[in-house]
Symmetry: C2
Subunit: 284 residues, 2 copies
């Protein structure tokens, strides 16, 4: 698997890189970013996965996420994939809406035409990219964790609940917790997976928990001034499901905060420290 | 003076705002950003001015500068103006080059046609905007400091050296220290101020020091992998001038760092702590 370097920049004594490769999963070129903190030659480091929200590429969190200082302090590799396949021949939403198609892959493997051809973000993020990271970076595949924002919070929760043994920590910023029950999710899961709602349950954190998926503890930050809170995010549905299932959920409603990177960057440090502790990295 | 709010976002328990007003100095609408940290009602806070480099608006540092966490901790207001007038009727470089005209005001009051009509960034940044900030934000005008990057480092140094009593700290990231002696500066100062090089000396940090301007101590960070280092930045010229003049210059050559915000954000914390100490804010 060949990885092409788009750019590298020294930052916080580590290296912030952007890379491109031809993905077998999506059948397109894919771009992702990786921050590698300063480390002794030969050391293998834990990996934090960050899944982005609607409209985003790797670039949003890479520029605005304010994760590098803490990843450098805590010794964490930080990987940010794109949110969908892109390029010639990749189908988009018929009306080019922001919430489906390009920039809105929802971390599923589509089965519906014309999306099934390229929209295979589940396979990309859970199989292909982890192998590539393990092969090309000083990563310790036995120590991984996952977080995400909004649609990426949905991705982090569903992937974490599906692979509880792979990820030592799972957290989210303003996640879509029950896509089957909200407009963003109904549009996306219907469009990618078809009308049989039973097939959606593997890609819905609340439904996964109802169906028996378990994870010891989850951290979720949610701004109470988030314009999507009431209609699209509904964190109380996750709280109810976790409560019933005996999952410890640390759900923090942050007063005055919205859905933006001004919110995410504020609490990124808390999340990275939570992950580092569970990844066995020394506290700072 | 009416200030229109473009956006406000809660961040690090303070407020990151973007504002627009009609400037008398430039004769155009101008946009700027202000971060106000959490503070007790009625408190007046010190103000750090940040001047941006070529091509930038207020947005670059606001998104990528990673200043809010420390400004919140240290109790600093952070103001980021635009780098030039913009809008209908504002002259640009004939070839629309990035280093003159729009996005490249160089913090001077132009006297050459057609730039004299709007390119009055010196008056804007040293007179009009400070009054507006003092009138509209919880700012203590007796406690101000200034920093900047590249062209904005040039602005911070020349403004600081011209108003040593107004600014309690002056620092820069990869500044243009001697515009009269480098291509970027020769093009800009010639274009805005005309061919009489004597008139350029007030807008050249090294020349200002040679002509008697003094400031107790300056902090400059410069990446040694900066592609502009040898031809445009030449920090040794500042070191020589400071040495001769008895000005303490803390010039740090940072190995492997380039000219980007990946560099700036790495050392932003050091600069803000340096400023806070000199602004009388408690250490964190």
């Amino acid at each position: 698997m060949t990885v092409q370097t788009v750019s590298t920049n020294r930052s916080f004594d580590g290296v912030q890189g952007v890379y491109r490769h031809t993905s077998r999963a999506t059948g397109t070129d894919m771009v992702f970013s990786v921050f590698v903190p300063p480390h002794a030659e030969g050391t293998k480091l834990p990996v934090v996965w960050y899944l982005s929200g609607l409209t985003c590429t790797h670039a949003n969190v890479t520029e605005k996420g304010e994760f590098r200082r803490l990843c450098a302090d805590l010794g964490l590799i930080f990987v940010a994939p794109d949110t969908s396949p892109r390029g010639e021949g990749v189908a988009d939403d018929a009306a080019e809406a922001y919430d489906f198609g390009l920039g809105a892959g929802f971390y599923v493997d589509a089965v519906e035409a014309p999306f099934a051809a390229h929209y295979r973000m589940w396979s990309y993020v859970t199989e292909e990219l982890p192998k590539l990271i393990a092969d090309n970076f000083p990563a310790d595949p036995t120590r991984q964790s996952i977080m995400g924002h909004s649609m990426g919070g949905h991705g982090a929760l569903t992937i974490g609940l599906t692979h509880p043994d792979r990820f030592r920590a799972v957290s989210a910023f303003s996640p879509i917790v029950a896509p089957s029950q909200v407009p963003w999710g109904e549009k996306a899961l219907g469009g990618y997976l078809g009308n049989d709602r039973a097939a959606w349950r593997k890609h819905d954190a609340v439904a996964l928990i109802e169906d028996g998926a378990r994870y010891p503890e989850l951290l979720v930050d949610q701004g109470d001034a988030d314009p999507f809170l009431a209609e699209q995010l509904k964190p109380h549905l996750l709280a109810q499901a976790c409560d019933k299932a005996g999952i410890t959920l640390l759900l923090r409603l942050q007063p005055g905060y919205d859905h933006s990177y001004f919110f995410i960057s504020t609490f990124m440090g808390d999340h990275l420290r939570w992950h580092a502790e569970r990844l066995g990295q020394p506290k700072r």
